[in-house]
Symmetry: C2
Subunit: 163 residues, 2 copies
């Protein structure tokens, strides 16, 4: 199950999908939700933006890599929101099922690590009292001792219009 | 959230509980479901049996240990079914939330490992065409290179009555 859209599938839908593999005894999921703070600032909400066909292509590639790496894993889920995401709401859910638990948990960790490092989706954080200076966040990730591709999106600020 | 009962909380209830921590950005869950096979035999269903107050006491102790070990983890879930559990249904769900993903995932793995090794709940597997010889399964777990407590429950077989 791969999806990039303004409305994520519910956790119930995802769990039912992963439970439908009769040879699997283990389901592992990871959900990323919007925190209410970053570096001491109060976050009001996040926005995500990306070119959906490319994001889906990369998610598909990550799932294929995961299947090759974790042979016993059966079904996989990787879904990411586009658009606004208030505090406490899910922006990303990954997960999988396998006969035994170790591979399911390790594969889920692999999925979220790869997603954070590879999927071209940008995150904009908006802060309380500072709505005009929302910032597009780069995706800073370390992997196997090296820094992974960092995505930074420039934005024309309102003040720039006056120059 | 700790529970041992014939009806587990839904995954939606659990996810909502874990999402209610505004400082957390990461939710990790693990669900154990009944597989349709074991050692080449077709499993029809599992049954779980245990002394509920003792099981809850051990689950509480495991959650306290997890909170000590993973300091940033906020809310935790550990629920286990008692009674019948058909193929594809959840018998156990553990999970937690934390500001960042690594601790959430590691803590979830710790919770399920400790639960499998310490909680005094016995599992009975029933096989297709062999219902009279359902077996109580011991809980065989390896941890830190050593075998954890193994729980075996004896059962008087029907044939024994004829002797």
């Amino acid at each position: 199950m791969i999806d990039v859209s303004e409305t994520l599938p519910s956790i119930t839908t995802i769990q039912q999908f992963l439970s439908s593999s009769p040879t699997s005894g283990a389901i592992s999921t990871f959900t990323g939700i919007t925190r209410n703070n970053f570096n001491g600032k109060t976050v009001t909400h996040l926005s995500y933006e990306g070119y959906i066909p490319m994001a889906i292509k990369v998610l598909t590639s990550i799932c294929n890599d995961a299947k090759s790496k974790y042979k016993t894993v059966d079904k996989l889920v990787a879904v990411h929101i586009i658009g606004n995401c208030p505090v406490g709401a899910a922006s990303v859910i990954v997960g999988c099922c396998s006969p035994h638990r170790r591979e399911a948990i390790q594969c889920t960790e692999y999925l979220i690590d790869e997603l954070k490092g590879r999927v071209p989706i940008w995150k904009k954080e908006s802060y309380v009292g500072d709505e005009d200076n929302a910032v597009w966040k780069e995706n800073v990730e370390w992997h196997d001792g090296r820094r992974r591709r960092v995505m930074v999106k420039g934005e024309k600020k309102k003040n720039d219009d006056k120059k």
